[in-house]
């Protein structure tokens, strides 16, 4: 035990004296949370809209007023019909609203009978599908919203995230990424560094048990990750206003399992890599890319091609992110994330077993 504590002290000193790495490890989650929370967003803002008006009337003026006063829309003025193509091509506008020449009459007819001919046309620049879809949605709501509401067939409710804030979606994803980065990447690099400098040989010739060395190496990174978990949860709750309606102890228990899983992955990488740079590349290429692409952090799993969907099942972050979404945003009970939790536990045990076996074999 005394030997273990001595080693933990040694590892802590390594981290404390490498202030740049420590700073990165502690600040990265903060920067990412703030970046994704405020700067980067999938919400579509500032849709540039121009209008084509064949014949001005009061109805059209009202509609244009509604457009130009909407915060999501930037009104670019009226253009002539033959300018439509050029405006869209040059990127000056994202959308054009073409009013019918008898707009006034058509609208009145719609209001009275609830049906009729099309009164306006939206021409969208769909080279960015995301902006085009969102923009069309906005225009629909602004210009035709009152008509639909008067005798609506459908009523939509945005549950859990009524303001549709994209930050809600990102926080679980960032958590899934950060812990892999800190636990797996930093730990594997730290272990491989000792192989590279030759100190590992000296340790292995000493009476210390290899398992002690490894556990002591993991301890400070585990603590570092716990600090990060606290920072992220606090930022998410008080800066981003995430409801965090789930049970806090469930959030922590699932997160701790994920931390252990990440540490085991780091150990596994360290048994494969002989140089720090290799460890770094494996962490980046084999773990970061699947996490970003396949975990459902950015792209919904249901949208992936059928071949990729089973592949995403082996990405640990997928299950963690899923569980965190349920717990943080939807306020689910532990029972609802039990499947995610059990899968994470199973993965942890499997990775740890392989890593330890590999580690022992390598000693021979």
């Amino acid at each position: 035990m005394r030997g273990f504590l001595k080693f933990v002290k040694k590892e802590t000193l390594h981290i404390l004296r490498d202030s740049r790495t420590m700073l990165i490890a502690l600040l990265m989650p903060v920067v990412q949370i703030l970046l994704f929370g405020f700067a980067i967003s999938t919400e579509v803002n500032n849709v540039n809209v121009a209008v084509v008006v064949p014949k001005w009337d009061e109805q059209i003026r009202q509609s244009i007023n509604k457009l130009s006063s909407n915060p999501y829309i930037t009104y670019k003025g009226a253009i002539a019909e033959h300018e439509i193509d050029q405006n869209l091509r040059s990127g000056k506008v994202d959308a054009i609203v073409v009013f019918a020449h008898d707009f006034d009459r058509l609208m009145t007819q719609w209001k009275q009978s609830g049906n009729g001919k099309a009164a306006m046309q939206f021409i969208m620049d769909a080279s960015n599908t995301n902006t085009a879809q969102a923009g069309a949605g906005y225009l629909n709501n602004i210009l035709a919203g009152e008509l639909m509401q008067s005798n609506s067939l459908v009523e939509t409710h945005m549950l859990f995230n009524p303001q549709m804030k994209s930050a809600f979606n990102f926080v679980p994803g960032i958590m899934g990424m950060i812990f892999i980065l800190i636990c797996a990447m930093l730990t594997s690099v730290a272990i491989v560094r000792e192989k590279e400098t030759g100190t590992m040989d000296v340790l292995l010739v000493s009476p210390v048990r290899p398992l002690t060395i490894i556990l002591a190496k993991m301890t400070p990174y585990f603590i570092l990750s716990c600090i990060n978990l606290t920072t992220i949860l606090l930022l998410a709750r008080f800066v981003l206003g995430i409801p965090m309606s789930g049970n806090l102890s469930s959030i922590i228990v699932v997160s701790l399992v994920y931390l252990l899983l990440s540490l085991s992955l780091g150990l596994l990488i360290s048994t494969i890599a002989k140089q720090q740079i290799v460890a770094l590349l494996i962490s980046a290429a084999v773990m970061m890319v699947p996490i970003v692409m396949l975990s459902g952090m950015l792209f919904p799993i249901e949208n992936m091609p059928a071949v990729l969907q089973p592949l995403s099942a082996i990405v640990p972050a997928r299950w963690y992110i899923d569980a965190m979404r349920k717990l943080l945003i939807q306020g689910a009970s532990f029972g609802l994330v039990l499947k995610d939790f059990l899968i994470l536990v199973g993965m942890t045990l499997a990775v740890l077993a392989i890593a330890l076996k590999n580690f022992k074999d390598k000693l021979e």
Partner: protein
């Protein structure tokens, strides 16, 4: 050196990696508190043999004892009685001189008080006590090497294994390094050293020459030169290595 008290006894020790025999039935003895030079070209099997003696690698066949413990069964006990300094400089650069000493002292369970006294004594002898709180990374290579030796012997091991300890350092530091080795040997520590500097071979009490996994010669430097009718150890080595299959 006429006693029969052997600290290392090895009989037909062999290590195979697949079909490749890295160490091929080597047998030798090392006497207590002698300086034993373990020589050979790169790839001759020196490091593999040494790893087996340190309990890092399990022999394919053969037998041996180190400090009275069986290399096949008691690797863990051997580890407690030996010191080891690897070929690459291997202290922690981001720890201070004293922190390195305390870490390794702690690993070998030297109690705190003894450790502090010993560290002070050893550093003062090197006239280096003032630098005890300096980060090892900021020291010149020669000093790092000397400190690595101090750290490898901090627990007063019965035998210390030095794997090419003087690689890459200047002749003056090498000279000082050998003075430290003599000092340790005179205090009763057995030194088992590999090197490929043939002039260093002359400093050893006895040396063995390894070629292609086998020990081709083992004697005092003087006797070796006589029996090979050679003027220097360099020449002895050249004669022995002439029909080597493996090389660098």
């Amino acid at each position: 050196m006429s006693n029969n008290d052997y600290i290392i006894e090895v009989k037909d020790l062999t290590k195979q990696f697949g079909s490749f025999t890295a160490v091929d039935h080597i047998s030798f003895e090392v006497r207590r508190s002698e300086i034993f030079g373990f020589l050979g070209a790169n790839g001759a099997g020196k490091t593999t043999a040494m790893r087996m003696l340190c309990g890092l690698s399990y022999p394919t066949s053969g037998a041996g004892t180190v400090a009275g413990f069986d290399v096949r069964k008691e690797g863990e006990k051997i580890k407690r009685h030996i010191g080891y300094m690897s070929q690459r400089f291997s202290l922690y650069e981001d720890l201070t001189v004293l922190e390195n000493m305390e870490l390794f002292g702690g690993i070998y369970q030297v109690d705190k008080k003894t450790l502090r006294e010993r560290a002070r004594h050893m550093l003062e002898r090197l006239d280096f006590y003032e630098e005890r709180n300096t980060l090892v990374g900021s020291l010149p290579l020669g000093w790092k090497q000397k400190l690595a030796f101090v750290v490898a012997t901090i627990h007063k091991p019965e035998i210390v294994f030095l794997d090419e300890p003087t690689g890459g350092v200047d002749p003056i530091t090498r000279r000082q390094f050998w003075e430290m080795i003599y000092q340790a040997a005179s205090e009763g520590t057995t030194i088992f050293v590999t090197t490929h500097y043939m002039d260093e071979a002359e400093y050893c009490n006895r040396i063995s020459m390894m070629v292609d996994g086998k020990i081709k010669a083992l004697d005092t430097p003087a006797n070796l030169k006589k029996s090979f009718n050679a003027a220097s150890m360099d020449e002895v080595f050249r004669i022995l290595a002439r029909d080597a299959q493996r090389g660098d």
